[in-house]
Symmetry: C3
Subunit: 307 residues, 3 copies
């Protein structure tokens, strides 16, 4: 029984195999349109997340499978005093695989321990969101052709942004990846990531609050939202926020083959005048997310298609 709870559950080899499968699906989706015939995915969303839920559902439907589940704890009775351990045992009678989003960190880990079916963590609190990381890696690999030898800019809230932490953790496993970490001082990456990951592995990185200065060096720019409520005071927020907004003017500084990613939803940290730039791939990224989840579902269910 395999589950996906943390992005680091997958070895580099397993990850590469999922990414290759995703790329094969992308090239010939029809070949995979019946591979999950007769299979069911349960989407167990204890907190709402339309984008992630629909991405999983689209993935399963594309594979010929079927979907059942709930989209919020309110419209479910699953939480009425019942433990996650009991709920997952019950769901194991209804579906062949499940995707669980839960406000409590660790809930999917508990579920996996008691489950009769593969459990995919679709986000647990501010903790892990491994299918977003899969999506990010598939986007980068498909567009650039590789995951090594590049300079990756991360911009915005690097302190609380779990997608940033996961992507750093995933990419330090590839050779010669350099990071430019662009954020207000208040929102720099957490200490453990700096010391136990970047320093420990001798990764080349720069911490800065100057997006424009480093923009010309980047192969990838991973933008994230800077939430007002993260700042200690309104003054700092107003002073700083514009520095972390990407617009058409700033894009002129970037390489012609740089790509801009964003885990979405975007609020105003990327100006809409960037949307039509060919380097803006955050909506393509959503499509890659569906392929990544198709490959993941097939892998966890041990399904394949004759070549």
């Amino acid at each position: 029984m395999k589950h996906l709870i943390s992005p680091l559950d997958l070895s580099v080899e397993e990850l590469d195999s999922i990414l290759s499968l995703a790329q094969d699906i992308m090239d010939d989706p029809d070949k995979y349109s019946h591979v999950c015939d007769g299979k069911k995915l349960a989407t167990l969303f204890y907190e709402p997340s339309t984008r992630t839920r629909l991405s999983f559902e689209a993935a399963m439907l594309n594979l010929g499978g079927k979907v059942l589940g709930f989209s919020s704890a309110d419209s479910s009775s699953a939480t009425k005093g019942e433990s996650v351990a009991d709920t997952i045992r019950v769901i194991s009678s209804f579906a062949d695989i499940c995707a669980m989003r839960h406000p409590k960190e660790g809930a999917p880990t508990v579920a996996a321990l008691h489950s009769g079916i593969p459990v995919i963590n679709a986000g647990d609190g501010g903790h892990n969101h491994p299918t977003q990381t899969l999506t990010d890696l598939l986007t980068i690999k498909t567009l650039t052709g590789h995951l090594d030898n590049m300079t990756v800019g991360m911009c915005g809230d690097l302190k609380f942004g779990r997608t940033v932490h996961s992507l750093i953790n995933a990419m330090v496993r590839y050779p010669n990846v350099r990071f430019i970490l662009i954020s207000p001082d208040e929102l720099k990456i957490p200490d453990y990531l700096r010391k136990e990951v970047l320093d420990e592995k001798n990764i080349d990185y720069i911490e800065t609050n100057n997006l424009e200065k480093y923009l010309p060096e980047l192969d990838i720019l991973y933008m994230t939202r800077v939430q007002k409520e993260r700042f200690f005071n309104e003054e700092d927020y107003i002073r700083l926020k514009d520095s972390f907004i990407l617009d058409a003017e700033k894009m002129k500084l970037a390489k012609k083959d740089m790509y801009v990613l964003h885990p979405l939803p975007r609020v105003n940290e990327i100006s809409t005048d960037v949307d039509n730039d060919e380097r803006a791939v955050y909506f393509k990224q959503v499509q890659f997310g569906v392929y990544a989840r198709m490959a993941l579902i097939m892998t966890l269910l041990n399904l394949s298609v004759d070549k």
Copy 2:
């Protein structure tokens, strides 16, 4: 890329073609049961509307397609600060066509501008609800054989009832359609409709508050709800409401081949003693609504079946 945002987006020819297709589906539904194999409909309901949503879902499932989506803004995260423009770009990766209901007038128009897939307006505020109009037209055409040369009674709240406005707008395009507009004075049709549509096109119409007087002349009676809160005072409401309630007694005044339609839900404006009258077709109308939506989905997706 075609969308359906307003009932008037369709020319008379396009409308006739959709109605003919709907009638062909009705005659032989099995012929169409796989035409949407592998296609997905997204139902994006920012406000709940069970009837409309389930009608779309039944339509897509009848065509062999699949469905995903959300049934209220609460159980979705789509509204968390994300623009409709961004949401529809994301949904375009998950589905082949979408039906959107939104409390804000114009939201589906914005969506259509940024969408990679056909958008169907499933109701935007008090504004448009084009698939209800398609349903009404299909019902009338199927039961009477034509959309011209008839006297159509509209009864109830003609001021705020968007289905009434749309049906008038659609039917004035056919020759020799006469309207009897039956309502309390407070709830007469809006000025623009009287002046810019009916008067402008020299349509024959009568405004009255006397249902019984004109009932014998009608070929179609389109009933709508009179909501208590629309009245200026309770006294007027009590005095007037019974005049606009259809019951078995009043039905005796009507032609033997008149049909009673209602967009539903019905509260008390049609007495339940009318339900078993063969001329009461408001529940049949729901079934016609499914066929109308099947034809619309096929049309917007450019799908057809060999004859």
Copy 3:
């Protein structure tokens, strides 16, 4: 047109036929995987019940059918002033069969009167929940091989527990079934059940508050939740609750081939140290529930498979 509103709607013969079909499905599910191709189930849940809803949905999907519906009255507009009679007439245009859960006793009965499709009561208030009873009977029959000649213990809240009442009503129809009714004095079975069912039919039964004393005699132990709020005072609750908790220690007193059932959700009335005991079948029971519903749907739709 057949409906299932109360567990007693089914004669012993009809029940046996559904249970046999369920067992055949269980033995060879693939044989039944397309029997509902092109059919749709509507799940009309006016109050949330994830377990029951997903069990119905899994059942229909397993049969090759499709599903639409709503999971709570909030996310539906079905309740906006519309009568259940009107709603079910509308739903009859969208689906081939429906499962309705409603907070008001009798709502499914009203629905059945006006429905164009079979209605399954999926729980109406504290009243009936016939598919739980079907599930319980299928579990007992499959595991023990029979429904007669056994001693059945019922433990917990026997006053308000509708599943207990239904199971007693169903099992008194089989010869030589003896009941041990284990509960606090405040939560004994209702008078009508004692007098009009057990006494009237000369059924052998004992009422007690001593689980341990009678445990060794039982072939089946049906556990239910004892809700704190059912007690008159906290003191009684604290004094009594432990007597009605099943744990590994008490299980030592039971027969080697006794089975423990529970309608779930379980809170603390069965200690988790019982879960790995082979006699604990409450999670298996969930799987039996899917088979029972598959057989029921086929029966109400008059569908069969060539042997």
